[in-house]
């Protein structure tokens, strides 16, 4: 089994109102070193790599469902492999 984490975030060109609000809140705590915060989401997915190559599986589920390509983009990391 392979555990992967798929990160989905807004494309750089898309306004992220949550990220902006959190950035303002962080500034009000005095953290002026923080220049930008972007909010996204992640999916922890366990894949049986004997049934399908992991990269191919991630690409397919991301493109078919997890990501709306009008707004979002994604990347993934392999968390655990055995």
């Amino acid at each position: 089994m392979t555990k992967v984490r798929i990160f989905v975030t807004y494309k750089q060109s898309v306004f992220d109102p949550q990220g902006e609000t959190i950035t303002e809140a962080v500034h009000s705590l005095g953290h002026n070193e923080v220049k930008e915060i972007k909010v996204g989401k992640f999916f922890d997915v366990t894949i049986d790599s004997r049934e399908k190559e992991v990269g191919e599986s991630v690409k397919e589920i991301s493109e078919q469902l997890l990501v709306n390509f009008n707004l979002e983009t994604y990347r993934y990391e392999i968390m655990e492999e055995d």
Binding site: S13, F15, P17, L71
Partner: protein, 224 residues
């Protein structure tokens, strides 16, 4: 003309749509469950507002997997009229029948109020009884109604006259180009965030939405 109102788990404006058509317009309308898989005998399809599948993942994203959706897609591809309001609009973008996407309001708040709109295109099955440039007032009630399309797509929508309704006095959600409703390129699929079905008789305080349904019924008469 026989009209289908699709009912998804989590729809909550299906009765409003049905009553606007049945009680107010005396139209032939039927509820169609998301579990059905065909739309034989129907001449128009309406997707209601609400929170289909709990808005899980993204608003409208899971409704795509309902058994009825392949029939809705085929219906739209055959050039027949398809209308979606609010969650219905979100579903139409998620299934790819309408371009672009709807995202969280810039204010991050659920906005429930009446807003002024400009009718930009009257050459659709749903707006033929309005006047181009007319100002109307309709209720909105959504948290995820901020229309987004990239620059190229926005320019294309404007050039093709696919923007049908635009917020005129204030932009309540951050929609690009103040977009409140669009059609597909062919013009037979309309999605809009405002709720015309909640403004169909003076008892409700407003009847500016009535002509969306009357326009469709007129279209039905012309086409037989």
């Amino acid at each position: 003309m026989k009209i289908a109102v699709i009912v998804f788990p989590g729809s909550n404006c299906d009765i409003d749509l049905y009553e606007a058509l049945h009680t107010v317009c005396d139209a032939d309308v039927e509820y169609v469950s998301y579990k059905q898989d065909n739309l034989d005998g129907f001449d128009a399809v309406m997707l209601p507002g609400g929170f289909s599948y709990g808005d899980y993942l993204r608003c409208g994203a899971i409704a795509r997997f309902s058994p009825i959706m392949p029939a809705v897609i085929e219906f739209a591809k055959n050039g027949k009229p398809v209308f979606g309001t609010c969650n219905g609009f979100q579903i139409l973008t998620e299934v790819g029948l309408l371009p672009g996407a709807l995202k969280r309001n810039n204010s991050l708040k659920f906005v429930c109020k009446t807003v002024e709109l400009t009718v930009e295109n009257t050459n659709t099955p749903f707006t033929s009884l309005y006047k181009k440039g007319e100002k109307i007032n309709l209720p909105i009630a959504h948290a995820d109604g901020s229309y987004y399309a990239d620059e190229e797509l926005l320019a294309e929508l404007e050039e093709n006259g696919q923007v049908v309704f635009r917020y005129s006095k204030e932009n309540p959600n951050g929609s690009l180009n103040d977009i409140a409703g669009i059609t597909n390129k062919q013009g037979n699929v309309l999605g809009m965030m405002p709720h015309p079905e909640r403004a169909v008789e003076m008892l409700l305080g407003n009847e500016d939405g009535l002509r969306v349904f009357k326009s469709l019924l007129e279209e039905g008469k012309v086409k037989g």
